[in-house]
Subunit: 264 residues, 2 copies
């Protein structure tokens, strides 16, 4: 990878900074009482810090959250409302609670690439998937199926929020989620490492069941109404379609993701 | 079929009555301005009657609906608000508009059985699928995939409403939907005609990809949280599961439906 586009390496940062960055890149901040409780109830999740608004009135669910966070060795911090809002980034839905979770499946895409050179991995890349329920369902299916990572851009996609967590049936805490800032930049890095980048497109000649790549492959799923964006489509070096009956023109993006995840 | 459980035949009804019943059984009443407009824009739908509340104020979308209904030869009827509510059965969401659509894919399950004796059809049966978005997605995937009918009970399932129509991306108007009152009764009739009735169950020994029935098969999908009901599970003479990674315990029911629909 000579052309890095999405890391801070070129800043010449210290080893300590990079270690710290890596630690925080592997973290997911969730908010809202029920989502935080369910996250803590999942054996797969570890928690770094629990953040509480000092204005919270006592409630049974808060007691349960604190008990679980303590049992998992979390640091528990109390903030004023404004400070908590800055942490949750969603003051209208955080209900005075946020948690920094350490999710074993979370990493940046460039760490994944560095650790999987020459391997025949299968990834899903999300290009503008904006509906939280679709994102949650994609995560659930990918986690259950044969997918090594979900490339989730910070730009232009739904982000992991309580709706996504719910639709993922909690699998988001263990799913292999590869974060990138900008999808096109990340896909260029995958191509530079000889991955196929394959768009799902109704105009493709090849059908999913006949597509058996011999190299690593990133399957790109587009926005719910627009499909794969022009910028990303131009980067793809393969394309496939799923044949449909009865004149149906498209499948739900989460259904498409599942058919790919379970296609091997 | 000696033991009919879900028809009116035993009442000794006249041929004329049965013809009329069959006509109305093939009809879907939709309501709400946008759902009705989109239904009429679909070339696959025919319309029997358009029902309007006489209290409706003039609106562009109503003009469009009336124009399309006229072009499709519908009878246009005006009602007072109470009468319209009785037709739509949902006064809070009908927005003063309802339409009786003739959907070529709609029929009762016993008509389907009578017309498909000895054929190796593949059906999905929904046992308590209650989320409208799941129902819509199931219809869309089944319609696009290799499914000959969706057995949709009137009891205990989501019914076709505007949310379902939206999630189905309009495919509900052309999908092969087989109506029954009670699922267990209908499944007994399918078994009497030598269909396999196969439950999706995480405890099953056989996995989906190894399951290749030589006869007609009805795949039963259960409720989102409870799975297949006890009453229906006892009727099943096969069961299959979909293997999952990463300790994921279940898939979304619409995803399961899609994996079955596209499994051949």
């Amino acid at each position: 990878m000579t052309k890095k586009t999405d890391t801070n390496n070129e800043r010449g940062d210290s080893q300590a900074y990079l270690e710290k960055k890596k630690f925080f890149d592997g973290m997911l901040t969730v908010y809202g009482r029920k989502p935080v409780l369910e996250a803590l109830q999942d054996k797969a999740t570890n928690i770094h810090r629990l953040h509480l608004a000092d204005s919270n009135k006592s409630a049974e669910i808060l007691d349960d959250i604190i008990k679980l966070a303590e049992a998992k060795g979390a640091e528990i911090l109390y903030h004023n409302r404004a400070a908590l809002s800055r942490i949750s980034k969603n003051s209208s839905q955080d209900q005075g609670v946020a948690a920094d979770l350490i999710c074993r499946g979370f990493q940046t895409y460039d760490d994944f690439l560095a650790n999987n050179k020459g391997k025949k991995f299968r990834l899903l890349a999300l290009d503008g998937v904006s509906n939280p329920q679709n994102l949650g369902m994609i995560i659930r299916s990918a986690c259950a199926g044969n997918i090594d990572g979900i490339l989730l851009p910070q730009q232009g996609s739904a982000q992991i929020d309580p709706l996504v967590i719910k639709a993922s049936a909690g699998t988001v805490f263990r799913a292999p989620i590869l974060r990138c800032k900008n999808l096109a930049a990340a896909l260029k890095d995958f191509k530079a490492e000889n991955s196929l980048v394959c768009a799902l497109s109704s105009h493709a000649n090849t059908v999913l069941k006949d597509f058996n790549p011999q190299e690593a492959c990133v399957y790109v799923l587009g926005n719910e109404t627009e499909g794969v964006s022009k910028e990303v489509a131009q980067l793809c070096n393969a394309s496939i379609r799923i044949p449909m009956n009865n004149g149906v023109e498209s499948l739900n993006v989460a259904v498409t993701a599942a058919l790919i995840a379970f296609s091997v």
